[in-house]
Subunit: 153 residues, 2 copies
Amino acid sequence: MTRRRGEIPFLLAMTYRAMTEALHERIAAEGREPLRPAHGYTFRLLLDRGGATSVELAEHLGVTKQAASKIVAELEDWGYVERRPHATDGRARVLALTDKGRAYVRHADDMWADIEDRWGEVIGAERLDRIHEDLRAYVDEVAGGRAVLRPIW
Amino acid sequence: MTRRRGEIPFLLAMTYRAMTEALHERIAAEGREPLRPAHGYTFRLLLDRGGATSVELAEHLGVTKQAASKIVAELEDWGYVERRPHATDGRARVLALTDKGRAYVRHADDMWADIEDRWGEVIGAERLDRIHEDLRAYVDEVAGGRAVLRPIW
DNA sequence: TAAAATGGTCAACGCGGTTGACTGCATTGA
DNA sequence: TCAATGCAGTCAACCGCGTTGACCATTTTA
């Protein structure tokens, strides 16, 4: 297999794009709120680092605190996230997933896993393992582990 | 290596994001116009299918013809693209890369190749080949070859 | 304890897309 | 052959989702 040098980033983009499209189709089919990547990344942060604030979310997403606030406001409206007063800091508000939020994360994980599995059916599970390792290697070693998932749309 | 099912799409996003950031840093460092993915995809179309029109570009990018027109107008202003009258169709205008446009494509390809190479240094060229195959397999077999590169930048 | 820093909000704006209406050329078919 | 329909392209208005900037209230620092 010959490949043009520099083609892989394009394929990466196309693959990711196709996967997100597949996900959005499912979300739309379920009649769910129009959840964007930023929302997904928010869920993941709140799951990993319980007790985050809007400012921390902003840093995590790589957006301004105002933008992060808007995202949180939406998620609160939809009942996925709650804002509670901070225990010691009167200015801050602590973000937390509601039950609905946690249930959605599980559901979303399932959907992503399904999409990943479709790929695995074509190329095999071992290849998927390798890809996982190799992507991690790029993110950690080339990109320096910068885990900013700036929502790109 | 154990991996969480459904994690790969996230890693795909992070990797692509890190790569585009690396590219943008280089473009910015060169003092070049703020070229976005949509512009890159446009260059590629014009290189592959000479004589495309705005409507064809719109289909390729997955945007409206109005949006495609705006993109072309920018590229024309910057001197990367020309619009020439269509040989037989008085309504249509044929898009073509200028010399500057072609030179930029070569340059951009080099930059992407460099970024890809950095990855290759970490994981090895054979792995890169596999990844190339596997990404192609997803795009072609799972996503049905839908090559719409809707610019999400 | 005054000054500076920080979490959060409100308002105005901008970029890059969308929808909708329109012009003028091209194609179709009675 | 020529009216009806279709299609390339443009103009204008709008919209989503981010930004910048100003501000308040609380906390931290000196």
